[in-house]
Symmetry: C3
Subunit: 674 residues, 3 copies
């Protein structure tokens, strides 16, 4: 157990603030900027993120920089004790660049080149774009590297998308040459002998396109394209990071992630970040549905924290409505505080918003903000924010604390890419992410802390040693080393849980031969002969321990080999065949759940496993549904966050006393760590 | 109260007829054309529209005209006493023009140029297209300007769509220079500082494109593009109108509109028309749903009439099935007469059809027509048409009469463009048009005549003086002068009704600062702090006058400032807060309805207002549901049209007697105007 | 009654086997190929299809052939007594060809050219593609023409799609010049006078495009484009067939069809095939829905057989899940045998699969196969296949037997093209194919054998003489000669059944004048004045013989002229008007059903007709629902196949005894033909 350093060394507090766009208010800056400072302080804000999307303001014409306005803003912030999260402006280009250098515009899967517009719409391979990026980032670092307000570098914004231009095609081929020793190896790995797809020359390889328009049937190609796209972002991050690193080596750098955004493997990208940050926009409804939304948001926080196993930044969240949702619902009373403390509970050392002051025009003009168009501190939302500021100010002890977990749940981008692309079972609707979260939620409802890791971490030497339970729902793809590490984990005494659709393909999305679950067949002691797909209204059952639990969607027909059968199917032509098994192996146990189940089964099953393994619960109590408890600790003091995601009150009766939580209510308890 | 001149000076009757395409029947013209005249007369038809889409027949090769067939047709019509609505043929080009001059083909939002095909598929900026238009229109006007059959010029057909070619881009930039004094002013109005969108040069501005493909996030740009598109049609109309005006100054010119077609601001286009005409295709079901369909059709008639505040032409309607609907239902008995008299009741001086004789091929070959493929007068549809002919012939007194209204409902294209584009609330699903019609219907069910006006008319000096009640549902955008005119209207004693989502943005779709409803805050006496969006199944309530009326979709959280609270919310965290208010101001009253309600609330609420203000009802009676009554008058005689949109009989008990209406039945009562 | 020769002269057995892709397993060929032979023999397999999609393996670089691996495979097959269905590889091109000759890539309706990728993605007009095809096919025929394994040529694979490149445009215009004597004739046939579409020059004609993008409103053009596309495939088939025919005149040639795939008129394509083959993938659910699925699969088998009136090949079917379905369900026990015997029952002399060994990569890697990734004979699926092998081996007597039918149901591609394109009634949702199958099913449930023919066969001299009953649901289009042949059939004593939507258009999709059903008006003795379209939930009724049968979707308002009224409408404004009529004409009867009905009406109505006409039933018994019986005969012996498509047992009590069928059970009875 360690206490990590604060993200900004000079600010030993939880950071509170958000995106701030003073460049939109230059016409009234004398009045507005000063008022902004007053309002920020009133709201307990100690950080503001500036410069995101400011390229046109900073470089209005090619090569002519205008830093005056930003000088003024940063000075004002420093005067008011507000730390700057200073952004590089590469999230959106000025129009002059697209005009002068059309190569910076992205090319789509259908090979049409975009027009200027939107944002995040540039080719990462473009030499011009990279050169312009270096120039502006260098200028920023030179000018503000020593500014007292500077706290964190915020590189670009929400990296995403992909480009299929000729420059990117060429880089893709280079990437492939690094991955495969020869074209023959690539052809074999991608199984191109089907449908006459064998490549006769590296130059024949093109990125995936759309159905009918071009190639999309080579799953190995599709998968490798996603890896390449991830590497493009890693490479571009390092590129734009270079001048910052050189000039301000002590200022931490980040880019804001987006949960399980499918376009980039964040486990890979996180390797090059100094600190991880992300943008969280749960869809709160104000109803009993928020328990599920809460579990999902917690999962995403835990995933983000697990990327680097240390405190992260909640870079963006909405203090009110999220404007881009089809139904832009207001936050109910208490919800803003709840979502803010939830982030901290799961490892965030910041609570930040998009945005501080609501803009007057453009597509985000109705997104929730600390200061509304109305302009005063007299709104409900402003008061909610100020309340959060007050609560965070009282939690300095939490800064840098750790979040120990006895359980790890596996979520893997490469696996997801392959499953999203699968032709078979339920095609694109296999529900991978939702299934992982359902398993996660069974621990969350017990107040059991959980890491979220991927195959690359599974295979990391020693990594699994810290866990008692490893849960890998739908572990469809086994990347190199994963099966071996899991087997060793079991043999050493770990408890492993796998499900249907495990061990089907290798890292190239090529099926294993010799019977599924492939390399995990000895570990799990089962052979999965076939998998049945059910229509949406169809139901089967798993009979376990006297109860018939509902099964649906996917039911695997397995043979227990060395495994013991715990539960069986209740219906259809495979009634009575094994549906739940355990394989005792070495000092550990490997469970296999053969079908998709409901939350009831998962709750009962994992409660049993938590009891059996002694995995730690935040509170020694059965939590009411929709309530979780999470711990942060420095090894000496525990900060227990109790969070109620129900629109009704909830009571926790634990050894330390009775805890009454209001609807959407929260409590933080300090206690000595035992 | 005035009696307007007949549309065709020499024909003091209601016009009855429709689109006629003799050019499709040239192969059998000796038999068919003569038979057409016999059948037309048999059906009581006194007008036929010819030449729509005849360009290929009139100019089969570039520069070679063939007028012989049209000479013959017009002579036949004159001989048979049938007035010609003569069309310019610009609704569709001959193929030779697209081949020789590809510039005439439209360019889409994705910047691809169309192929030849369809119709209405030409660039209005194209010099070639304009030159060809001038030539053919001049030739038509020269040849037929003195023809005895000529009654009305019908320019092109159902203007619509847009073009994004380079020529149009250039014209768009010119349009913008006329709208903004400087690029800086444009940048400020469009709030381009967000997402680095600031324009450094006029030439960088491009028309909106599609999501991801190009620009679509600058709402001011999107809005101005729609204004430009409207001006393109105005300009093109004037262009193709010029030779007609020069050669036949006394022949009225029109182009046929399409109700609330969103692509053109008809209030603007109507300014340049001599007479307004439109194409009405209600979807009748033959069930109790037709009450709602009837209200909607009436709204569209009233809107069309209000464009110029004088009688209009029903240029197209179907005497039977509308072929392009997914379910092309037959008209039930009586429905054809009902929809025809409905148009006249609301101010039409014509009942015209698409089409007279059903074509044998192409995509409209199954659209309802007076004469079917079968070819005789022995069809049900033909008899329905002949009945209408007979009824119209007895209503000469109605020609040119006025339609006085004490109530105006606001429907505004600019506002709609902005609301359709809004990111927030319920995004594209805010239901603006449907909401306006729901408010309209509450008056329609009472037999209260209603104008439909937009912000430009609100701001027109003196315009509001004629109304007792002004209703502006979701007045999201306040264009210059509107708020001032409304406030003056109230101060002078008017009754104004506004709702949630009022006064959010200015004419550039840029939010007002200082609290919504912006400039109307003093008029309405409320501050709208926040707006809650509800999921489709969610419900709240407005408690008013002892009843809990359902509220849904959008609930605004308002503060009554100078206003008095009449009703309050019934549920959720804002239960008890104001939901219905009135602000007594000057001699008038300004009501505010904070949430979307059902028809029950609107019926009760507006019945109260009609009683309070003494707004005129067509009949001094409570009308049964689904029945309306509308008046046309020359100031001396009232023509009261009673219309039953129910599949069941209805009875009206009014001071003049008892009126029994058959299912879908109609009655016209003459009475002295008091 | 004849016995046809076996498809492969030297193999007087039912063929059993499937697609085999040894080229995907060259890396492990020594082990895998030998094991394949062992497993094939174990499963009772006597044929394998090789070389489909092998172009890249056979010609890895332009002009360099590699036949060694195929030599080896064919030798192995010959050694093991396995007949080869040897494919030409034109279903997919190697990548080098697309690179070197982009003209081979298809152009879409939007006129964009595809990238390399997918399969079936080539221009049939391309001279380069045709030249390459000739070269490889010649090389194959030269090398393997005398190979003892060679049994059947399999040309390409599942022909489909279309190309809009300039070469194809030019060929299309040539096709049109062959169809129309002059441009004037084409303009009149296509009714181009509407919307100014008259063509001034052949060169102005372009293929149909998409809505708004280009032309799609000229229905005659759309229709002729489909005819052209069919002729493109006929022509290409003959082109690639030429070297095979020249070098191996005795080896039968086929290409695998796809049931009612809408893109090609299979009645036309079948004319140039030596033997018809098709790929059948019914969606079995394991529930009572399978009765309907079974009827549909039978219909498709009967259609395929009727194309040439002789035994066909079931070229592909799945022994397990069909991977590309949204829900890839496993076959329930017995279902694999059921679907295999079903094919034979309806005239197939083969049972073949896609595929023998499941591939490891690419988009078909989870499609059902005889040998799974697991690799042994110990799977359920392998055992199912082996069981089929055993059963087929016992049915040598069935080879070449005939399938006599007293009933013909009409299914017509040209008609379907027009109905799918119709604007009116229910637009694209008129349900033509489903309706035809509903009528077909009424006979299938009675065990009455049925041919499926189109208008071209109706008009074939003497063709109708073999039938007692001719059923033509929705005979919207009457191609030349069809009405005359039908009338003669009736006059000679036949029983003809027509429905609503009959006789609307001629072969150019141009309506008949003078009253529908056009040329069949005297035959049917009715005039169809109007057709009412119903909303999905609306219902009417046909009152016939004391029962009110449900009517829905489309209700035609007819006048009985010479016909006698048997049933009338039960509701709406046309209650009491004729809904079912019969016209006694010459020695026969022509029935008219005016509305779409449910299966109940069709069952009762056609039972009456079968009884009246004495049409032959396979068993003299009332079959339980979901059970059919079908006969194959050599004139001396009948092979009666009883097939139970229910998940429950069924009993047939017939004069020969009681037959008990297990769930999804089957039985084959031999009996002397009487
Ligand atoms: Zn690129
Ligand atoms: Zn243009
Ligand atoms: Zn082509």
């Amino acid at each position: 157990m360690v206490r990590h350093a604060p993200i900004v060394a000079s600010v030993p507090h939880l950071l509170h603030g958000g995106d701030y766009n003073p460049d939109q208010w230059r016409a009234t800056k004398d009045a507005t900027w000063k008022e902004d400072m007053r309002l920020a302080r009133l709201a307990g804000i100690n950080t503001l993120s500036v410069g995101i999307f400011s390229w046109a303001a900073l470089e209005p014409e090619e090569g002519r920089y205008e830093f005056g306005w930003l000088d003024e803003v940063l000075d004002l912030m420093a005067e008011n004790g507000i730390t700057a999260v200073l952004a590089t402006p590469t999230g959106a280009r000025p129009g002059w660049m697209s005009r002068a250098y059309p190569e910076v515009l992205r090319v789509n899967r259908d090979r049409t080149r975009n027009l200027h517009g939107g944002r995040h719409n540039h080719c990462l391979s473009s030499p011009v774009y990279r050169e312009k990026t270096t120039a502006i980032n260098t200028a920023l670092a030179e000018r503000y590297g020593d500014h007292p307000a500077l706290g964190v570098w915020h590189l670009s914004n929400e990296y995403g998308g992909e480009c299929h231009c000729d420059l990117c095609q060429e880089r893709f081929r280079e990437h492939l040459k690094g991955r495969f020793a020869s074209l023959a190896e690539l052809n074999e790995a991608w199984w191109t002998a089907f449908w006459a797809k064998t490549y006769a020359d590296w130059s024949h390889i093109e990125s995936p396109s759309e159905h009918w328009r071009g190639e999309q049937d080579i799953h190995g190609l599709n998968l490798e394209w996603m890896r390449f796209t991830t590497e493009q972002f890693v490479d571009f991050y390092l590129h734009e990071s270079a001048p910052l690193k050189a000039l301000t080596p002590d200022v931490p750098r980040t880019t804001n992630l987006m949960g399980t955004y499918p376009g980039i493997d964040y486990f890979r990208l996180a390797q090059v970040l100094d600190v991880v940050s992300w943008d969280s926009y749960p869809e709160w409804t104000g109803t009993e549905k928020d328990a599920e939304r809460g579990a999902r948001a917690s999962f995403l926080h835990d995933l983000t924290r697990s990327l680097k196993s240390r405190p992260f930044m909640l870079m963006e969240s909405s203090p009110s409505a999220t404007n881009w949702r089809p139904v832009a619902k207001l936050h109910r009373p208490s919800v803003h505080l709840l979502q803010s403390l939830q982030a901290v509970a799961h490892g965030s050392d910041t609570v930040q918003y998009f945005q501080f002051r609501k803009g007057r025009g453009g597509s985000e003009k109705f997104h929730g903000a600390v200061v509304d168009h109305e302009g005063t501190e007299h709104t409900r939302v402003f008061k909610d924010v100020a309340e959060v500021g007050e609560r965070l100010a009282a939690l300095d002890g939490v800064v840098g604390t750790d979040t120990p977990a006895d359980v790890a749940v596996v979520y893997d981008w490469h696996l997801r890419w392959a499953l999203d692309d699968v032709k078979g079972m339920l095609q694109g609707a296999t529900g991978y992410e939702a299934t992982v979260i359902e398993h996660y939620r069974a621990f969350w409802e017990q107040g059991v802390a959980t890491d979220v890791i991927d195959s690359s971490l599974i295979a990391e030497p020693g990594r699994l040693d810290r866990y008692k339970i490893l849960v890998a729902p739908m572990l469809y793809m086994l990347r190199p080393g994963a099966a071996e590490a899991i087997d060793a984990f079991v043999q050493r005494g770990g408890t492993f849980v796998a499900t249907y659709a495990t061990g089907y393909v290798d890292e190239h999305d090529r099926t294993f031969l010799g019977g599924f679950p492939g390399p995990l067949r000895p570990t799990l002691g089962v052979w999965a002969e076939e998998i049945d797909a059910l229509y949406p209204d169809d139901r089967n059952a798993i009979d376990w321990d006297g109860t018939a639990y509902e099964a649906r969607e996917l039911c695997e027909l397995i043979h227990a080999e060395t495994a013991e059968t715990l539960g069986t199917y209740g219906a259809d032509f495979y009634a009575g065949r094994p549906a739940l098994t355990v394989n005792r192996r070495g000092d550990g146990s490997a469970y296999f759940i053969a079908a998709r189940t409901g939350a009831d089964f998962l709750a009962d099953f994992y409660a049993r496993l938590v009891a059996d393994t002694g995995a730690e619960r935040a509170l020694d109590a059965d939590l009411p549904p929709g309530v979780t408890a999470q711990v942060r600790t420095d090894g000496t003091t525990d900060y227990v966050f109790a969070l109620n995601f129900n629109p009704t009150a909830a009571r926790i009766d634990h050894p330390g006393g009775v805890l009454d939580l209001a609807p959407f209510g929260t409590a933080v308890i300090e206690r000595p760590r035992t």
